[in-house]
Symmetry: C2
Subunit: 426 residues, 2 copies
């Protein structure tokens, strides 16, 4: 056998392994959906118990992953690390999701038709969900939690650098889940470190109902382009805060600082500040002082640079997701220009306004075409926790199916049920 | 210039034409969504008025299309024909959609968080929708109606054999729509008969938010495979009726005949009859008589053929969408086998049970994984009209976003709006 044939055979074996795994997860999804909500709640608590009992194993696996990850950049190493803080967060989150109401079986709407046919639209699970993600091992537990809550089985493919940690986490969750009668394959890790496994995964449209890539833009783009399975996308957050003509200085400064600085590397952090021309000379000096004190570098438009000293912004800055202590600043002639800038340069993720004027706030909310639009609130509040959804898998920038935070309810579909007594079509 | 360069240049010109068209439609979608619902209702009525006034032009264009369509099969010719009955249906439908409640602006849910942040999820339009369909010109008017109702601009690509008819219909609707202040490009026909135009359309992911292919399986598959735009799919209806052990003979026969024969060529017509073993010898003879009288040919499993005379079914019959006076019949040992057959061989479109037992009906509704599950009602009742949705674009077999009938509400997304008074993330 020559090398090429050998590679072909091993590729086929890998494909078959991935397919078998997806098939098992699909069958598990069907069983899972038929179990009562309280059984899935009990399983979520048992998963937390088993994880707590496996703290030492998790630490050992994580240390082994970290030891081999010497070449990773410090931020990536930090994301990989499951320290006590992350671990207690993981347990808390599972127990919190166990308390969430079960989305399945909700009657979304219902009516009795003039002919007596009773029609209702009832929430059901999607079935089997694939999640492809990078380093952070708590995605493994979060994803399992959200999927079990919503009655979906899940096939997880994390980064190879976190494989040992993920396998130990998944095995502990499996023990907890099966103890409560959940099927073995309700939570499954794709164990192969081979990158080809991802390509095989993208072709399992017969078994997986949706795919969620969590990670950088190139991962999301590759998955979207190659997948035969529908994808829920999480793209960049190029988030804006627009300070209207009447924005009070204290609120403007506090929201700018919180939106930009509370955590710079996340998708709902502020990237471009838009200042109304009528407020620019009043607000920009105080903003510049506060942002400089917070260590933020500014890149301004020509008008901004007439008022405060800062770097020069070019066209690329208006579309930049810095994820860093850097902020683009643009003076706009009015609210329409602000909305136009946001709808043209933004990413439809999260955008906010500071104003005291009711009609201006209504106008902004109506015309800004983004998943989240906030009034007098930090962009950092856009998300599942602050919106009251409990655990979420991320923030979708798609318009189809799920937009904004993706919690258990966003991982459901519905079916139509119609009950008659011999009803015919005339 | 040689031939190849010439082709390249004309392809580029075509691509640019399609792109410009999609861009206009996208911009129109944004404007349309900002108009009040009553203005879109008025436009729908004005569109009906203008169509009524253009009856002669429509007839002439349709006659020209029919004259050139000599090679079409009789059923396809019939679908192409806009006779008085079809025309009055078109007008009725537009006026009915004008009466439907506006889906936009609906507060789907809302809450005030413990910190006082007011959060709500508000229904918004998707933006711009592409529809690729075959012969039937009333799809042109139905699609325009459903899209205007839901605040979406629409780019229509019908079959080239119906192009003259579609252009006249669209031009009349454009007159009505613009008279009421809707943007020019709210309803646009892709005029090129070139098949390459479809491929160009599939690449307009920058401008179109969703694509809906309406037609045969190969059209839907091609569009799904090649599109860069998210697709709402309408696949086959391999619909089942399961006659449970206790099914009364009269209901069983009436529902079988209505589900199969009321109209054989549509997606919610019955294709496979499942008969419980405990009822087979009681029900099959009466069913065979009634179906024979209705001109339906039967293909049965071995057990069926022990009870009644009919053709032999093979494995392909269990997955067949006949769309013809032909019915597959299988005797199953019980309800679990019926559900397993439906979930394995069916297409997740529409499936029904006949039973008088409450728990059996609940069990069937819970475990059959289809867009529509009916109890003691004809499969032909699965659809927007009988469910009370008004006009629909078709019946989705997807689980993501829209499942079952696709009406105005299914062509919407939502945005999150959060209102605070200087709320920060801690």
């Amino acid at each position: 056998m020559n090398g090429i044939e050998g590679a072909g055979a091993s590729q086929t074996a890998l494909y078959q392994e991935v397919e078998a795994c997806a098939r098992d997860v699909s069958a598990a999804g069907r069983k899972l959906a038929a179990l009562p909500g309280e059984q899935r709640s009990a399983a979520l608590n048992a998963m937390a118990d088993e994880l707590a009992a496996a703290r030492t194993e998790v630490a050992a696996a994580n240390a082994a992953d970290l030891a081999e990850a010497g070449s990773l950049s410090p931020p990536l190493r930090q994301r990989l690390q499951v320290d006590d803080k992350v671990f207690s967060y993981i347990l808390r989150r599972l127990r919190a999701v166990a308390q969430l109401p079960d989305p399945l079986g909700e009657v979304i709407e219902g009516t009795t038709r003039p002919n007596g046919l009773e029609v209702r639209r009832v929430r059901v699970s999607l079935g089997a969900i694939g999640i492809i993600y990078e380093s952070r091992p708590n995605v493994t537990t979060d994803a399992a939690a959200v999927c079990v809550r919503s009655g979906n089985a899940v096939l997880l493919r994390g980064g190879s650098e976190a494989l040992r940690t993920n396998l130990v986490l998944a095995e502990a969750m499996r023990r907890g889940a099966t103890r409560c009668g959940l099927p073995e394959a309700a939570i499954r890790i794709l164990g192969s470190a081979d990158r080809e496994a991802v390509h095989a995964l993208l072709r399992q449209d017969r078994y997986l109902d949706v795919l969620i890539p969590r990670g950088g833009r190139s991962l999301v783009e590759t998955v979207s382009r190659e997948s035969r399975i529908p994808v829920i996308k999480h793209y960049d957050g190029v988030c804006h805060l627009y300070l209207a003509a009447d924005a009070p200085e204290a609120t403007a400064v506090a929201l700018t600082i919180n939106s930009k600085c509370q955590r710079v590397e996340v998708c709902n952090a502020l990237e471009t500040l838009l200042v109304d021309e009528a407020a620019a000379s009043r607000l920009l000096p105080a903003l510049a002082t506060a942002l400089a004190a917070a260590g933020v570098t500014l890149r301004g438009c020509p008008r901004t640079r007439q008022i405060i000293a800062c770097e020069t912004a070019d066209e690329t800055d208006w579309a930049a997701e810095y994820l860093a202590p850097m902020l683009a600043v643009r003076v706009v002639p009015g609210i329409d220009a602000a909305i136009e800038h946001i709808n043209t340069c933004g990413s439809g993720h999260t955008d906010a306004i500071v104003t005291q004027n009711l009609e201006r706030s209504r106008y902004f909310c109506r015309l800004v075409d983004s998943a989240s639009v906030l009034v007098n609130a930090s962009t950092r509040l856009s998300g599942g926790g602050d919106y009251g959804l409990g655990a979420v898998l991320g923030i979708s920038t798609d318009k189809l199916h799920a937009r904004g935070p993706v919690g258990p309810r966003e991982l459901t579909s519905y079916k139509w049920i119609a009950i008659g007594q011999g009803h015919l079509r005339e």
